[in-house]
Protein backbone atom coordinates (compact mmCIF):
# COMPACT_ATOMS: atom_id res chain seq x y z
CA UNK A 1 0.00 0.00 0.00
CA UNK A 2 2.75 2.37 0.99
CA UNK A 3 4.46 1.56 -2.31
CA UNK A 4 1.53 2.64 -4.44
CA UNK A 5 1.21 5.88 -2.45
CA UNK A 6 4.90 6.57 -2.93
CA UNK A 7 4.55 5.87 -6.62
CA UNK A 8 1.77 8.41 -6.98
CA UNK A 9 3.77 11.01 -5.03
CA UNK A 10 6.65 10.75 -7.45
CA UNK A 11 4.42 11.87 -10.33
CA UNK A 12 2.35 14.36 -8.38
CA UNK A 13 3.46 17.97 -8.58
CA UNK A 14 1.29 20.27 -6.51
CA UNK A 15 2.84 23.46 -7.83
CA UNK A 16 1.99 22.47 -11.40
CA UNK A 17 -1.76 22.38 -10.75
CA UNK A 18 -3.62 24.93 -12.96
CA UNK A 19 -5.07 26.51 -9.80
CA UNK A 20 -4.65 30.09 -11.02
CA UNK A 21 -7.27 29.71 -13.74
CA UNK A 22 -9.11 26.45 -13.14
CA UNK A 23 -9.92 25.19 -9.66
CA UNK A 24 -12.38 22.59 -10.99
CA UNK A 25 -9.69 20.87 -13.04
CA UNK A 26 -7.10 21.29 -10.30
CA UNK A 27 -9.16 19.64 -7.58
CA UNK A 28 -10.23 16.86 -9.96
CA UNK A 29 -6.58 16.22 -10.72
CA UNK A 30 -5.77 16.32 -7.04
CA UNK A 31 -8.58 13.90 -6.18
CA UNK A 32 -7.46 11.54 -8.96
CA UNK A 33 -3.98 11.39 -7.43
CA UNK A 34 -5.41 9.05 -4.79
CA UNK A 35 -7.81 8.68 -1.86
CA UNK A 36 -4.84 9.11 0.43
CA UNK A 37 -1.37 9.88 -0.89
CA UNK A 38 1.97 11.26 0.19
CA UNK A 39 3.72 14.13 -1.52
CA UNK A 40 6.90 15.78 -0.26
CA UNK A 41 6.50 14.41 3.24
CA UNK A 42 2.86 15.41 3.67
CA UNK A 43 -0.03 12.95 3.60
CA UNK A 44 -3.14 14.16 1.80
CA UNK A 45 -6.60 12.75 2.46
CA UNK A 46 -8.91 13.48 -0.49
CA UNK A 47 -11.65 10.82 -0.34
CA UNK A 48 -14.80 12.58 1.00
CA UNK A 49 -15.83 9.96 3.57
CA UNK A 50 -12.25 9.68 4.79
CA UNK A 51 -12.14 13.49 5.01
CA UNK A 52 -15.18 13.47 7.31
CA UNK A 53 -13.75 10.60 9.33
CA UNK A 54 -10.44 12.40 9.84
CA UNK A 55 -12.13 15.67 10.82
CA UNK A 56 -14.19 13.79 13.39
CA UNK A 57 -11.26 11.86 14.85
CA UNK A 58 -9.11 14.34 16.80
CA UNK A 59 -7.72 11.42 18.82
CA UNK A 60 -6.13 10.08 15.61
CA UNK A 61 -5.42 13.39 13.86
CA UNK A 62 -4.16 16.00 16.30
CA UNK A 63 -4.25 19.77 15.84
CA UNK A 64 -1.55 20.45 18.45
CA UNK A 65 1.58 21.41 16.54
CA UNK A 66 -0.14 21.16 13.16
CA UNK A 67 -0.29 24.90 12.44
CA UNK A 68 2.34 27.41 11.38
CA UNK A 69 3.67 29.31 14.37
CA UNK A 70 5.30 32.24 12.55
CA UNK A 71 8.20 31.76 14.96
CA UNK A 72 5.83 32.79 17.75
CA UNK A 73 5.61 30.75 20.94
CA UNK A 74 2.02 31.34 22.05
CA UNK A 75 -0.86 28.98 22.80
CA UNK A 76 -3.04 29.61 19.75
CA UNK A 77 -6.38 29.06 21.42
CA UNK A 78 -8.32 27.00 20.39
CA UNK A 79 -7.03 25.91 16.97
CA UNK A 80 -3.87 24.23 18.32
CA UNK A 81 -5.60 22.55 21.25
CA UNK A 82 -6.73 18.90 21.39
CA UNK A 83 -9.43 17.36 23.56
CA UNK A 84 -10.17 17.46 26.43
CA UNK A 85 -8.95 21.07 26.91
CA UNK A 86 -10.41 22.10 23.58
CA UNK A 87 -13.98 21.72 24.79
CA UNK A 88 -13.43 24.03 27.75
CA UNK A 89 -12.16 26.80 25.46
CA UNK A 90 -14.93 26.37 22.92
CA UNK A 91 -17.62 26.46 25.60
CA UNK A 92 -16.30 29.88 26.56
CA UNK A 93 -15.60 31.17 23.06
CA UNK A 94 -18.57 29.90 21.02
CA UNK A 95 -21.08 32.16 22.81
CA UNK A 96 -18.78 35.16 22.25
CA UNK A 97 -19.02 34.67 18.47
CA UNK A 98 -22.56 33.33 18.17
CA UNK A 99 -25.08 34.65 15.65
CA UNK A 100 -26.74 36.58 18.49
CA UNK A 101 -23.54 38.48 19.21
CA UNK A 102 -23.13 39.12 15.49
CA UNK A 103 -26.73 40.38 15.32
CA UNK A 104 -25.91 42.99 17.94
CA UNK A 105 -23.02 44.26 15.77
CA UNK A 106 -24.89 44.24 12.49
CA UNK A 107 -25.84 47.92 12.26
CA UNK A 108 -22.25 49.02 12.88
CA UNK A 109 -20.84 46.52 10.41
CA UNK A 110 -23.43 47.45 7.79
CA UNK A 111 -22.56 51.14 8.09
CA UNK A 112 -18.88 50.32 7.67
CA UNK A 113 -19.23 48.34 4.46
CA UNK A 114 -21.54 51.07 3.14
CA UNK A 115 -18.78 53.63 3.66
CA UNK A 116 -16.23 51.45 1.90
CA UNK A 117 -18.48 51.14 -1.17
CA UNK A 118 -19.37 54.85 -1.07
CA UNK A 119 -15.66 55.62 -1.34
CA UNK A 120 -15.52 54.32 -4.94
CA UNK A 121 -19.12 54.34 -6.17
CA UNK A 122 -18.72 57.66 -8.02
CA UNK A 123 -15.62 56.51 -9.88
CA UNK A 124 -17.33 53.78 -11.91
CA UNK A 125 -14.73 51.14 -11.09
CA UNK A 126 -13.23 49.23 -8.20
CA UNK A 127 -10.90 46.41 -7.29
CA UNK A 128 -13.03 44.32 -4.94
CA UNK A 129 -9.94 42.74 -3.38
CA UNK A 130 -8.13 46.00 -2.61
CA UNK A 131 -11.11 48.26 -1.96
CA UNK A 132 -13.29 45.91 0.11
CA UNK A 133 -11.63 42.54 0.71
CA UNK A 134 -8.41 43.80 2.32
CA UNK A 135 -10.09 46.55 4.35
CA UNK A 136 -13.37 45.23 5.65
CA UNK A 137 -12.32 42.11 7.63
CA UNK A 138 -9.70 44.00 9.67
CA UNK A 139 -12.28 46.69 10.43
CA UNK A 140 -14.67 44.02 11.62
CA UNK A 141 -11.95 42.53 13.84
CA UNK A 142 -11.19 45.95 15.34
CA UNK A 143 -14.92 46.52 15.93
CA UNK A 144 -15.31 43.10 17.56
CA UNK A 145 -12.39 43.77 19.89
CA UNK A 146 -13.36 47.39 20.55
CA UNK A 147 -10.17 48.83 19.06
CA UNK A 148 -9.77 52.04 17.00
CA UNK A 149 -10.53 51.71 13.28
CA UNK A 150 -7.54 53.98 12.60
CA UNK A 151 -5.34 50.97 13.36
CA UNK A 152 -6.69 49.19 10.28
CA UNK A 153 -3.95 49.89 7.75
CA UNK A 154 -1.20 48.99 10.19
CA UNK A 155 -3.00 45.74 10.96
CA UNK A 156 -3.40 44.97 7.26
CA UNK A 157 0.32 45.49 6.74
CA UNK A 158 1.37 43.08 9.50
CA UNK A 159 -1.12 40.41 8.57
CA UNK A 160 -0.13 40.50 4.91
CA UNK A 161 3.56 40.33 5.77
CA UNK A 162 2.82 37.32 7.94
CA UNK A 163 0.71 35.49 5.40
CA UNK A 164 3.65 35.65 3.00
CA UNK A 165 4.99 32.60 4.86
CA UNK A 166 2.08 30.51 3.69
CA UNK A 167 2.80 31.67 0.15
CA UNK A 168 6.24 30.16 0.23
CA UNK A 169 6.35 26.42 -0.03
CA UNK A 170 8.09 25.51 3.21
CA UNK A 171 10.99 26.24 5.49
CA UNK A 172 11.15 28.49 8.52
CA UNK A 173 9.59 31.94 8.67
CA UNK A 174 11.48 34.76 6.94
CA UNK A 175 12.81 37.69 8.99
CA UNK A 176 10.09 40.01 7.63
CA UNK A 177 7.48 37.51 8.78
CA UNK A 178 8.97 37.32 12.27
CA UNK A 179 9.20 41.12 12.44
CA UNK A 180 5.55 41.49 11.43
CA UNK A 181 4.45 38.82 13.93
CA UNK A 182 6.43 40.52 16.71
CA UNK A 183 4.99 43.93 15.82
CA UNK A 184 1.47 42.52 15.80
CA UNK A 185 2.04 40.88 19.18
CA UNK A 186 3.37 44.12 20.64
CA UNK A 187 0.30 45.90 19.29
CA UNK A 188 -2.06 43.32 20.77
CA UNK A 189 -0.25 43.45 24.14
CA UNK A 190 -0.76 47.20 24.13
CA UNK A 191 -4.41 46.77 23.19
CA UNK A 192 -4.98 44.28 26.01
CA UNK A 193 -3.29 46.60 28.53
CA UNK A 194 -5.38 49.55 27.34
CA UNK A 195 -8.55 47.49 27.53
CA UNK A 196 -7.74 46.50 31.11
CA UNK A 197 -7.55 50.19 31.96
CA UNK A 198 -10.67 51.10 30.03
CA UNK A 199 -13.04 48.15 29.63
CA UNK A 200 -15.65 48.39 26.90
CA UNK A 201 -18.63 46.53 25.52
CA UNK A 202 -16.60 44.22 23.28
CA UNK A 203 -15.17 40.73 22.96
CA UNK A 204 -11.66 41.61 24.18
CA UNK A 205 -13.11 43.02 27.41
CA UNK A 206 -15.18 39.84 27.85
CA UNK A 207 -12.12 37.65 27.43
CA UNK A 208 -10.09 39.78 29.85
CA UNK A 209 -12.87 39.54 32.43
CA UNK A 210 -12.91 35.76 32.04
CA UNK A 211 -9.14 35.77 32.53
CA UNK A 212 -9.73 37.55 35.83
CA UNK A 213 -11.98 34.62 36.77
CA UNK A 214 -9.10 32.28 36.00
CA UNK A 215 -10.55 30.96 32.72
CA UNK A 216 -7.69 32.29 30.58
CA UNK A 217 -4.05 33.06 31.29
CA UNK A 218 -2.44 36.25 29.94
CA UNK A 219 -0.60 34.21 27.31
CA UNK A 220 -3.85 32.63 26.24
CA UNK A 221 -5.57 35.99 25.76
CA UNK A 222 -2.68 37.10 23.59
CA UNK A 223 -2.65 33.79 21.69
CA UNK A 224 -6.36 34.05 21.05
CA UNK A 225 -6.10 37.62 19.76
CA UNK A 226 -3.14 36.64 17.58
CA UNK A 227 -5.07 33.69 16.16
CA UNK A 228 -8.01 35.92 15.27
CA UNK A 229 -5.70 38.09 13.19
CA UNK A 230 -4.08 35.06 11.57
CA UNK A 231 -7.26 33.15 10.79
CA UNK A 232 -10.05 35.69 10.55
CA UNK A 233 -8.82 38.36 8.17
CA UNK A 234 -7.27 37.09 4.93
CA UNK A 235 -9.71 34.17 4.82
CA UNK A 236 -12.63 36.58 4.64
CA UNK A 237 -10.72 38.76 2.18
CA UNK A 238 -10.52 35.69 -0.01
CA UNK A 239 -14.18 34.72 0.40
CA UNK A 240 -15.32 38.25 -0.50
CA UNK A 241 -13.29 38.10 -3.72
CA UNK A 242 -14.67 34.74 -4.82
CA UNK A 243 -18.24 35.66 -3.92
CA UNK A 244 -18.14 38.87 -5.95
CA UNK A 245 -16.44 37.03 -8.82
CA UNK A 246 -19.34 34.58 -8.94
CA UNK A 247 -21.82 37.44 -8.96
CA UNK A 248 -19.89 39.35 -11.62
CA UNK A 249 -19.96 36.26 -13.82
CA UNK A 250 -23.65 35.55 -13.18
CA UNK A 251 -25.87 38.60 -13.70
CA UNK A 252 -28.89 36.27 -13.69
CA UNK A 253 -28.16 35.38 -10.06
CA UNK A 254 -28.06 39.09 -9.20
CA UNK A 255 -31.48 39.56 -10.80
CA UNK A 256 -32.89 36.55 -8.93
CA UNK A 257 -31.48 37.93 -5.67
CA UNK A 258 -33.16 41.26 -6.31
CA UNK A 259 -36.50 39.45 -6.59
CA UNK A 260 -35.79 37.15 -3.64
CA UNK A 261 -33.30 38.68 -1.17
CA UNK A 262 -33.27 35.48 0.92
CA UNK A 263 -31.38 33.82 -1.94
CA UNK A 264 -28.21 35.56 -0.75
CA UNK A 265 -27.72 32.90 1.95
CA UNK A 266 -27.56 30.11 -0.61
CA UNK A 267 -25.34 32.11 -2.95
CA UNK A 268 -22.88 32.61 -0.09
CA UNK A 269 -22.90 28.92 0.89
CA UNK A 270 -22.38 27.76 -2.67
CA UNK A 271 -19.61 30.28 -3.27
CA UNK A 272 -17.91 29.01 -0.11
CA UNK A 273 -18.37 25.42 -1.26
CA UNK A 274 -16.89 25.83 -4.72
CA UNK A 275 -14.17 28.34 -3.83
CA UNK A 276 -13.18 27.62 -0.23
CA UNK A 277 -10.44 30.01 0.95
CA UNK A 278 -8.76 27.28 3.01
CA UNK A 279 -8.57 24.02 1.05
CA UNK A 280 -6.88 21.90 3.74
CA UNK A 281 -7.14 21.29 7.48
CA UNK A 282 -3.65 20.42 8.76
CA UNK A 283 -3.22 17.70 11.39
CA UNK A 284 -0.54 15.42 12.86
CA UNK A 285 -1.13 11.64 12.86
CA UNK A 286 -1.05 10.43 16.48
CA UNK A 287 -0.55 6.72 15.64
CA UNK A 288 0.11 4.55 12.64
CA UNK A 289 -3.28 4.60 10.97
CA UNK A 290 -4.67 3.02 7.82
CA UNK A 291 -7.04 5.17 5.79
CA UNK A 292 -8.48 3.95 2.48
CA UNK A 293 -5.96 1.12 2.57
CA UNK A 294 -2.97 3.46 2.87
CA UNK A 295 -0.74 3.45 5.95
CA UNK A 296 -0.10 6.89 7.44
CA UNK A 297 2.80 6.69 9.92
CA UNK A 298 2.62 8.07 13.47
CA UNK A 299 3.90 11.66 13.56
CA UNK A 300 3.18 12.30 9.87
CA UNK A 301 2.00 15.72 8.75
CA UNK A 302 -1.47 15.28 7.30
CA UNK A 303 -3.63 17.61 5.24
CA UNK A 304 -7.33 16.83 5.19
CA UNK A 305 -8.63 18.08 1.84
CA UNK A 306 -11.85 20.05 2.29
CA UNK A 307 -11.85 21.08 -1.35
CA UNK A 308 -12.26 17.58 -2.77
CA UNK A 309 -15.05 16.79 -0.28
CA UNK A 310 -16.77 19.99 -1.41
CA UNK A 311 -16.66 18.75 -5.01
CA UNK A 312 -17.69 15.17 -4.28
CA UNK A 313 -19.22 13.89 -7.52
CA UNK A 314 -21.34 11.37 -5.58
CA UNK A 315 -22.93 14.08 -3.48
CA UNK A 316 -23.33 17.05 -5.83
CA UNK A 317 -25.09 16.73 -9.18
CA UNK A 318 -22.85 19.40 -10.76
CA UNK A 319 -20.01 19.71 -8.29
CA UNK A 320 -18.26 22.58 -10.07
CA UNK A 321 -21.37 24.74 -10.54
CA UNK A 322 -23.30 26.82 -8.02
CA UNK A 323 -26.48 24.96 -7.04
CA UNK A 324 -28.95 27.50 -5.67
CA UNK A 325 -31.90 25.15 -5.38
CA UNK A 326 -33.29 24.58 -1.92
CA UNK A 327 -31.97 21.38 -0.43
CA UNK A 328 -28.52 21.44 -1.99
CA UNK A 329 -25.97 19.64 0.19
CA UNK A 330 -23.76 21.58 2.59
CA UNK A 331 -19.98 21.94 2.57
CA UNK A 332 -16.86 21.70 4.72
CA UNK A 333 -15.35 25.09 3.92
CA UNK A 334 -15.30 26.01 7.61
CA UNK A 335 -13.71 22.66 8.38
CA UNK A 336 -15.56 20.09 10.43
CA UNK A 337 -15.60 18.23 13.71
CA UNK A 338 -14.65 19.96 16.93
CA UNK A 339 -12.43 22.53 15.18
CA UNK A 340 -15.16 23.91 12.93
CA UNK A 341 -14.25 27.56 12.31
CA UNK A 342 -15.00 29.59 15.43
CA UNK A 343 -15.62 32.73 13.37
CA UNK A 344 -17.95 31.18 10.80
CA UNK A 345 -21.06 33.10 11.89
CA UNK A 346 -19.21 36.40 11.75
CA UNK A 347 -17.64 35.55 8.39
CA UNK A 348 -21.01 34.67 6.89
CA UNK A 349 -22.50 37.93 8.12
CA UNK A 350 -19.61 39.91 6.64
CA UNK A 351 -20.25 38.27 3.29
CA UNK A 352 -23.97 38.96 3.47
CA UNK A 353 -23.44 42.61 4.33
CA UNK A 354 -20.95 43.02 1.48
CA UNK A 355 -23.44 41.63 -1.03
CA UNK A 356 -26.38 43.65 0.30
CA UNK A 357 -24.64 47.00 0.60
CA UNK A 358 -22.70 46.66 -2.66
CA UNK A 359 -25.82 45.80 -4.64
CA UNK A 360 -27.93 48.46 -2.94
CA UNK A 361 -25.55 50.98 -4.48
CA UNK A 362 -24.30 49.13 -7.56
CA UNK A 363 -26.88 46.65 -8.86
CA UNK A 364 -25.20 46.21 -12.23
CA UNK A 365 -21.53 45.76 -13.02
CA UNK A 366 -19.16 43.59 -14.98
CA UNK A 367 -15.56 42.49 -15.08
CA UNK A 368 -13.28 45.16 -16.47
CA UNK A 369 -12.57 44.42 -20.10
CA UNK A 370 -9.57 42.17 -20.48
CA UNK A 371 -9.41 41.44 -16.75
CA UNK A 372 -8.74 37.76 -16.02
CA UNK A 373 -9.15 37.22 -12.29
CA UNK A 374 -6.52 34.74 -11.13
CA UNK A 375 -5.82 32.86 -7.94
CA UNK A 376 -2.35 33.04 -6.45
CA UNK A 377 -0.72 29.63 -6.39
CA UNK A 378 0.95 27.99 -4.56
CA UNK A 379 -0.61 29.50 -1.49
CA UNK A 380 -1.98 28.33 1.85
CA UNK A 381 -5.08 30.45 1.47
CA UNK A 382 -6.55 30.53 -2.02
CA UNK A 383 -7.39 34.05 -3.04
CA UNK A 384 -7.75 36.31 -6.06
CA UNK A 385 -4.91 38.78 -6.48
CA UNK A 386 -7.39 41.37 -7.81
CA UNK A 387 -10.95 41.64 -9.05
CA UNK A 388 -11.52 44.71 -11.19
CA UNK A 389 -15.13 45.67 -11.87
CA UNK A 390 -16.66 48.49 -13.89
CA UNK A 391 -20.13 50.01 -13.54
CA UNK A 392 -22.04 53.23 -14.24
CA UNK A 393 -20.42 56.02 -12.19
CA UNK A 394 -22.66 56.70 -9.21
CA UNK A 395 -23.90 53.11 -9.26
CA UNK A 396 -27.68 53.09 -9.75
CA UNK A 397 -28.40 54.07 -13.34
Amino acid sequence: MADSATASSSVFNMVALPMADDRAASWRFFRDAGDVFESQGIWYITEPEAVRFALRSPELFSSAGAFTQHGVDLPQIPINIDPPDHKRYRMILDPLLSPRVVNAMEDTLRAQIGELVDAFVETGSCDVVADIGRLYPPQVFLSLFGLPLEDRDQLVHWVEEMSAVSHSKDGGPAQSVQDAANSLIAYLEGAIAAKREHPGDDMLTEVIERAADGQFSDDEILGLAFLFCRAGLHTVTSAIGFLMLHLAQHPEIRRDMEKDPSLVTRVIEESLRTEQPVPFSPRIAMNDVEVCGVQIPAGARVRICLATANRDADKYANPDELDLTAGSPGHLSFGGGIHRCLGSHLARRELKLVVEEFHRRIPDYELKQGAIPQVEWPSGTLHLSELNLVFAAGGRS
Binding site: R52, R56, M91, D94, P95, L97, S98, P99, R100, T265, R266, E269, A326, G327, S328, P329, G330, H331, L332, F334, G336, G337, I338, R340, S344, H345, R348
Partner: protein, 70 residues
Protein backbone atom coordinates in the same frame (compact mmCIF):
# COMPACT_ATOMS: atom_id res chain seq x y z
CA UNK B 1 -42.21 11.05 12.76
CA UNK B 2 -39.27 12.02 15.00
CA UNK B 3 -36.74 14.77 14.41
CA UNK B 4 -33.64 15.43 16.48
CA UNK B 5 -30.20 17.02 16.44
CA UNK B 6 -27.52 14.62 17.65
CA UNK B 7 -25.64 16.86 20.07
CA UNK B 8 -22.59 14.61 20.00
CA UNK B 9 -22.26 15.18 16.27
CA UNK B 10 -23.34 18.83 16.00
CA UNK B 11 -20.34 21.17 16.04
CA UNK B 12 -22.24 24.37 15.40
CA UNK B 13 -21.83 25.01 11.67
CA UNK B 14 -25.23 26.70 11.77
CA UNK B 15 -26.34 25.68 8.28
CA UNK B 16 -29.64 24.27 9.58
CA UNK B 17 -30.90 27.54 10.97
CA UNK B 18 -29.28 29.59 8.18
CA UNK B 19 -30.95 27.60 5.41
CA UNK B 20 -34.13 26.35 7.10
CA UNK B 21 -35.14 29.04 9.60
CA UNK B 22 -38.77 27.87 9.65
CA UNK B 23 -37.83 24.75 11.61
CA UNK B 24 -34.44 25.48 13.23
CA UNK B 25 -33.10 28.27 15.38
CA UNK B 26 -29.82 29.05 17.14
CA UNK B 27 -29.00 28.70 20.81
CA UNK B 28 -26.83 30.99 22.98
CA UNK B 29 -23.63 29.42 21.74
CA UNK B 30 -24.64 29.44 18.07
CA UNK B 31 -25.57 25.79 17.81
CA UNK B 32 -28.72 24.67 16.05
CA UNK B 33 -31.87 23.63 17.84
CA UNK B 34 -35.38 22.74 16.78
CA UNK B 35 -37.68 25.72 16.44
CA UNK B 36 -40.87 23.65 16.56
CA UNK B 37 -42.19 20.62 18.36
CA UNK B 38 -41.09 17.37 16.80
CA UNK B 39 -44.14 15.19 17.01
CA UNK B 40 -46.58 16.35 14.36
CA UNK B 41 -44.73 18.38 11.74
CA UNK B 42 -46.56 19.59 8.64
CA UNK B 43 -45.65 18.48 5.11
CA UNK B 44 -43.68 21.71 4.60
CA UNK B 45 -41.82 21.24 7.84
CA UNK B 46 -40.94 17.66 6.96
CA UNK B 47 -39.58 18.87 3.63
CA UNK B 48 -37.50 21.51 5.43
CA UNK B 49 -36.11 18.90 7.83
CA UNK B 50 -35.16 16.63 4.96
CA UNK B 51 -33.32 19.46 3.20
CA UNK B 52 -31.46 20.20 6.44
CA UNK B 53 -30.40 16.55 6.73
CA UNK B 54 -28.62 17.00 3.38
CA UNK B 55 -27.13 20.35 4.29
CA UNK B 56 -25.66 19.38 7.67
CA UNK B 57 -21.88 18.89 7.25
CA UNK B 58 -21.74 16.68 10.35
CA UNK B 59 -24.74 14.49 9.48
CA UNK B 60 -26.11 15.46 12.89
CA UNK B 61 -29.79 15.81 11.97
CA UNK B 62 -31.88 12.71 12.39
CA UNK B 63 -35.31 12.26 10.85
CA UNK B 64 -37.06 9.02 11.57
CA UNK B 65 -39.98 8.11 9.41
CA UNK B 66 -42.24 6.77 12.09
CA UNK B 67 -42.50 6.29 15.82
CA UNK B 68 -42.40 2.65 16.62
CA UNK B 69 -42.22 0.93 19.95
CA UNK B 70 -38.76 -0.20 21.02
Amino acid sequence: MKVAIDNHRCTGHGLCFALEPTVFTDDEAGYGQLAIGTDVPSEDQIAAFRRAVHACPEQAIVVEASETSE
